[in-house]
Symmetry: C3
Subunit: 358 residues, 3 copies
């Protein structure tokens, strides 16, 4: 159960109301008045709790669960424990997410400007916005209606933040236009100078970075992630993109609508990710590459050439995932068999330096 | 010698007192009253300085050193320079660390709340705590006795920070319970929203993240590291864990007691590191994996399956280190020899894009 | 064209003045009075715009461009579109950068200390410096003439910042000496504790970190980058080095003059980069390694041994780039051909875990 010091449960809710709210079909239909108080995983759920089954590999956990309610696909309905109310859905994870949101809605924004915030007189602050202590808003900046700007966050000159966007503490926004309903977590840096120089042994010469960062609606940007502004033209993050922590996005990159970038991924300048690209953790995407719509990049892959739409790739340099597995298998086999005329596999005496303390 | 603008040397100390304090045996015993003023490496040490030998590969540096005192293992005592006082210890690096701590103790916390800090009236601030300028403490937060909260750090609603913990500047703590005697460096983000969505082309749906981050005692967390809160249940960092800069720890991860995570390592959601795991730099650990007690992960390894206790692994995907070396050797050999019926090794014409400026 | 809310164009300029300012030769010479209003890429340039050709692979774009002025090498002059004024230069990208700087100079620093800054009375603030809201300056710190310290940045005790250096918002500077004319972007952490412990299952023992970070002149440090102070002796960044976002630099590292480190690169303790080393994105450099002058490390390479001056390396562990390509080719070929007595290539059934949501 969620710690009430941090999270507020606004339940209980009747099963019928929950099913209606998330577009699930109640089974049995007469369970509409059954009341639920909590949500949680199958393993710890009790009779008052709604849980879910998405991945069929956990069907045993389903059968053994004490959950009073379960969101699942129709084809798994018969595997639910005896007496459990079933919320039938073709997208059980999605439906469950909406049920959890019903129990634990995002807290409303309590409007107000903290006296320890520093707001330039030329800035425009929308109705119902909340600005916490230590917030600094520069000249001509515009904070939308119902925004929440966290403590010690800096919103620089002329930046625009769309309505209902929530910006965490200790964030820096500069040279950017942020859409509506975004969530920007603590420590994010948007609009910093792109890494552009004319390299020269007499001293590298700055290329002025004269573009912006344009972020769409409904975007999430994770803690300590950095997004540089364009050099000429903009760095763009499309609507609904979800970006994890410590991600780097270089100047003039385009991140397509609905794309998902996991932690510590880095995207070099001018790369284009079409819509719904998924990059798992610690991926690297080279400059000027194009990643086709819906392509999936396995964790730690390193992309240096264009990737077609829908492809699944892995490895460095990234190749089709199936080929990557085949190469790993072939290499393992090669290393196992005897080599050379002596029939002995050679070996490398060198231990890699695994000191971690320096 | 340490720059006195930044560090204060509280010596000199007599050899006998130092040896007693760190559990070393003085050799010769009659050197108890010999006085030392400084600590330092063998190469620059003089007659007033205590140095150390840990790695036997530097024994030549020992013999040639002008150090007046040396911490070393008994078996290296005869290699010390003439006239040098020996501090015999089975763990010379540990004993030397304690001697350096004696000369350069962590400065005491000078209690006080800066007038430019913003403290919610419902927050509880322990005796002897120090809160610097720009600190923001939210409602119901609790700062332990003797804590030091650095400038412009934000401690959000209901967070608890244990006694004597030192939090650097520009940090964000939210949805977390921090133990005693921890050190949290500048720019750390703890308790940010886990990266949880039901992916959906109509718009990814947030899974509310209803857990906390629970950090044990004596933990160090490096600059700009990010630790997300759990989705349901907590993200946990065990007592005495040491975490370097720019590390990412996903929701519901467990980092075992005494584990050491070097810089830029990333741990995906729900992974479990048992106690005393060591991850060198830039390691990636996949979701839902379990790393056994004391396992060692070489720099840049990428773990996608469980790793047994005590194993040493490397590569992507991570395999036993010995096997990784063997594969590297086999591949190098393969690439050197002629291939195919023509007897010519094929080559790749493509130069990778090594532009760094875009 | 750059968004005038964020950038100010101080043109127009006559072609002759521009050519003189950047050391280019005007062709034809009689075009000195031709006026230009803007700079931009070949694809979008119009008759009032100066553009450039550096990489010959874009020569078609040159020929088709509507640009009124083009910076290019003498050998490409005949490929410029009809009527375009040519600025002939052996280093066209450099010359173009200087022309862009002429149109869009870095805005001057408007001196002043914001009333919401907290300055220790013992700190020295140079003439013409600007300190924004929420800035915290510790005792004995020294801010040079004409510096700009961004909002909510913390400059700790005894730190020295050289003249004309610009520090972004939400930065932390401690235990460091920063040179003149540097640019330090938002969220940078300099001088945090090096990651030094005597590892011990009874509890890792801190090695006090008694060195500083010494940053030369004209250095750029990217957003959320972290640079630890030395353990004994200093961490050093040479004049003119350019460091991108989210880079980690460990204790006692030396980064040579004019080196360029792209995003998410990590350098372990005591590594030495000689002058003009270039590390592309996500590179890892192991502890105590030495990278020779002018060496180039391809994106994602992992260096565990010394690299000679001028070498180009890639892969993990890093090897000469040519060899790395050859190995990739050999492995691809190996995986394609049938294996073993059955004539069937083995394959790996395991799909890697590509869940990105946990």
């Amino acid at each position: 159960m969620a710690d009430p010091r941090f999270f507020r449960n606004v339940g209980p809710f009747a099963a019928g109301a929950l099913a209606d709210a998330v577009g699930a079909v109640l089974d049995p239909p007469e369970a509409r008045d059954r009341v639920f108080k909590e949500t949680g995983p199958l393993s710890s759920a009790d009779a008052d709790t709604v849980s879910f089954l998405d991945n069929p590999k956990y069907v045993t956990a389903l059968t053994e669960s004490a959950a009073g309610g379960v969101v699942l696909r129709p084809e798994h309905a018969h595997r639910a424990p005896n007496g459990a109310v079933r919320f039938l859905s073709d997208l059980p994870y999605r439906s469950f997410a909406l049920i959890v949101q019903a129990f634990y809605p995002e807290p409303a924004v309590e409007p107000g400007v903290h006296p320890a915030a520093s707001i330039d007189p030329s800035a425009r602050i929308g109705d119902g916005a909340r600005l916490d202590a230590g917030v600094v808003i520069g000249p001509d900046a515009e904070i939308g209606e119902g925004c929440w700007i966290g403590a010690n966050t800096v919103v620089d000159r002329a930046v625009r933040v769309g309505p209902r966007t929530r910006v965490g503490p200790n964030v820096t926004l500069s040279f950017c236009l942020i859409g509506a309903d975004c969530r920007i977590l603590a420590g994010v840096r948007i609009g910093t100078r792109g890494f552009g120089f004319a390299m020269d042994q007499r001293g590298h010469i700055d290329l002025p970075q004269l573009g912006r960062v344009v972020v769409g609606d409904g975007v999430e940007i994770g803690a300590n992630t950095t997004i540089d502004r364009g050099m000429g033209g903009d760095t763009v993050v499309g609507d609904g993109a979800k970006i994890d922590n410590l991600v780097q996005i270089g100047h003039n990159v385009t991140v397509g609508r609905g794309s998902v970038l996991c932690a510590q991924t880095g995207i070099a300048g001018s790369a284009v990710l079409e819509d719904f690209v998924v990059a798992a953790g610690q991926v690297g995407i080279g400059p000027h590459t194009r990643i086709g719509r819906g392509a999936q990049l396995a964790a730690r892959s390193g992309v240096i050439r264009d990737i077609p739409a829908g492809a699944k790739v892995g490895g460095v340099p990234a190749i089709p995932l199936r080929e990557f597995h085949r190469q790993n298998t072939a290499l393992a086999r090669l290393a196992r068999r005897p080599a050379g005329p002596t029939g002995r596999a050679e070996d490398d005496d060198h231990e890699p330096d695994d000191k971690t303390d320096d």
